[in-house]
């Protein structure tokens, strides 16, 4: 035991303040709190320094973003200017700002090149200006819906005997036929060259579609060996979209699963393809404006629009298309059945009228739950 040990134990080692003394001391301390000046801590000073830096960074970012917007605006404007236009005679189109208000856009697709350019062989043969695909797009507050019009739809009131042939008079012939036959006003007109979609599919890295088994079309060159979810490159995807004689391998036998509905099945192929492509577009351009611009650059040469489109209208429609969730895309074919002559199809009533009513401005029927292509469809996007 040394002097320190002795000192440590002396004189009283276990002194505790009484409860009252402690409470008094605490009360005395806390009386000093209310009037105490609040002193910025190092931490808050650091936050303020950080805040200043943040403000500077935000200002710099704002300048950069403003510059980028001006640049992007120029990029967009320049691209809009590059879109070729088609002159549709006055009074044929309903016009107006689709997007600002509800409206219909007629999309005519060809799989064989430029509809309005003269054919390479200069031929005037019947069908040289044939529209391959006729789609009505409806934009309203609820979104976008698309209706495929079978090209073999009988057109009694026109000189042609089917919808596709009205196009021999140019866009105005088809727009007139849609107005007279289906009682639908078309506000704007767009032409799309589907053959160019091969490149677009490749640009987004292929589209994914699910097949019930090996599928082939000896006419279109379609040859899908596996079953289930497949990634299709541009060439295969186009072969699928073009396929009108699709055969499915079941139990070792190639069966014609189309059974005489060649054109209608082609339309459903297109819808499934569009849905798969839309899904792919979203993942491809998501958060990547450069990829979006490249995609736009690939798309532009494939498009023609009527000269009545305004810039804001185009941007609004692009925005509306981008914001559509592919899963909820309302893609449908006008319900039709074979006409007695076997060469045409005619609308099935009342189903056709119900669908068409929406394009005349009637409120949309209750949205079907889930995708418009049932998950049980033999072929679907995945």
């Amino acid at each position: 035991m040394n002097e320190l040990d002795l000192l440590r134990e002396w004189p009283e080692t276990n002194i505790q303040p009484s409860t009252e003394v402690r409470a008094d001391a605490q009360a005395q301390l806390e009386r000093a709190y209310p009037g105490a000046p609040v002193i910025p801590t190092k931490a808050t000073r650091a936050v303020r320094r950080f805040g200043t830096r943040l403000a500077i960074a935000a200002l710099a970012a704002a300048v950069l973003i403003a510059g980028a917007i001006v640049w992007a605006q120029r990029q967009v404007d320049e691209r809009i200017d590059r879109v070729k236009t088609v002159t549709v005679p006055n009074g044929v189109l309903g016009g107006g700002e689709v997007g600002a208000r509800a409206g219909n856009i007629l999309v005519v697709g060809t799989d064989s090149g430029d509809l309005l350019a003269s054919q390479p062989d200069g031929s005037t043969r019947n069908g040289s200006r044939r529209s391959d695909t006729i789609i009505l797009l409806r934009f309203d507050g609820d979104g976008v819906r698309a209706l495929w019009i079978p090209r073999d739809l009988a057109v009694a009131a026109s000189t042609g005997d089917r919808m596709s042939q009205t196009f021999t008079r140019g866009p105005a012939g088809l727009i007139d036929a849609i107005k007279t036959e289906l009682d639908i006003e078309v506000n704007h007109y767009v032409e799309v060259n589907f053959s160019g979609f091969e490149r677009i599919v490749n640009e987004v890295g292929g589209v994914k579609m699910s097949f019930p088994g090996p599928v082939r079309d000896v006419y279109s060159g379609l040859d899908i060996a596996g079953a289930g979810c497949q990634s299709l490159d541009g060439r295969t995807a186009l072969a699928w979209v073009r396929s009108r004689h699709t055969e499915l391998l079941e139990n070792g036998i190639w069966n014609d699963v189309l059974s005489g509905r060649a054109d209608l099945d082609r339309l459903s192929h297109q819808q499934e393809f569009i849905r798969a492509l839309a899904r792919r577009f979203r993942t491809h351009v998501d958060g990547d404006p450069a990829a979006a611009l490249r995609l736009v650059d690939t798309l532009i040469p494939l498009l023609k629009i009527d000269s009545g489109f305004s810039r804001t209208e185009i941007l609004g429609l692009v925005r509306a298309l981008i914001s559509v969730d592919p899963a909820s895309l309302q893609l449908a074919t006008l319900p039709v059945e074979a006409a007695p002559d076997g060469a045409h199809v005619v609308p099935v009533q009342p189903a056709a009228e119900q669908v068409l009513a929406v394009f005349r401005g009637a409120p949309a029927p209750a949205a079907p739950s889930g995708p418009s292509v049932p998950a049980t469809a033999p072929v679907h996007d995945c």
Binding site: E3, L4, L6, E12, V21, A25, Q28, Y33, A36, T41
Partner: protein, 189 residues
């Protein structure tokens, strides 16, 4: 020390700059120990006031606390030591009384033999402490009673740690001389 409650003393004091109520945590952590130290030197009566004053002064000076220090004790004991100096006469009077009188019995002896030894040596200890310079006494009592390290004492008394070492050395030498305790080197053998 100072880790209870998740934030160390420096963090709590830093927070108390914006939010004074947080300083109550410092009070709760350290009041009893500071009170005991003060009471041991000046008696309970004086400690009742000084203990409270330590924290009021600490609170008003909290912006000078170096908030990266996890332990506020050196700082608090430093404030207490300055306050105790104002009561130097009380302290020396107490020590003189201890040196003259019979030792006071312990409240709660933990080790009877040790306690009895300490009691027996009480007058000599009091006498030795009374004879120390104020700064030597501060150093040895911060070391022996408050349990601070040399570094902590250097902070508390605002002197270099070497000064603390020599002060404690001097104080121990004086205590040994008064108590007749053998030389530390030999006692350790």
């Amino acid at each position: 020390m100072g880790i209870a409650g998740g934030s160390h003393d420096g963090e709590v004091i830093a927070a108390s700059l914006d939010d004074p109520d947080r300083f109550t945590e410092i009070f709760e952590r350290h009041f009893d120990a500071l009170y005991a130290f003060t009471a041991r030197r000046l008696g309970r009566e004086v400690a009742d006031d000084v203990g409270a004053t330590v924290f009021v002064e600490a609170f008003s000076a909290r912006s000078r606390f170096e908030v990266d220090r996890a332990d506020a004790r050196p700082w608090l004991y430093g404030i207490a030591t300055n306050l105790i100096h104002r009561h130097r006469r009380t302290e020396t009077r107490r020590l003189r009384a201890y040196a003259r009188s019979e030792p006071v019995g312990p409240d709660q002896p933990t080790d009877i033999e040790q306690r009895l030894d300490a009691e027996a040596f009480g007058p000599q200890l009091a006498s030795a402490l009374r004879d120390l310079t104020a700064s030597d006494r501060d150093a040895i009592l911060l070391f022996a009673w408050a349990g601070l390290s040399y570094d902590d004492i250097a902070i508390a008394t605002d002197v270099p740690v070497g000064t603390v070492r020599s002060r404690i050395h001097r104080a121990r030498h004086r205590l040994r001389a008064v108590l007749g305790v053998p030389d530390p080197v030999r006692s350790m053998e």
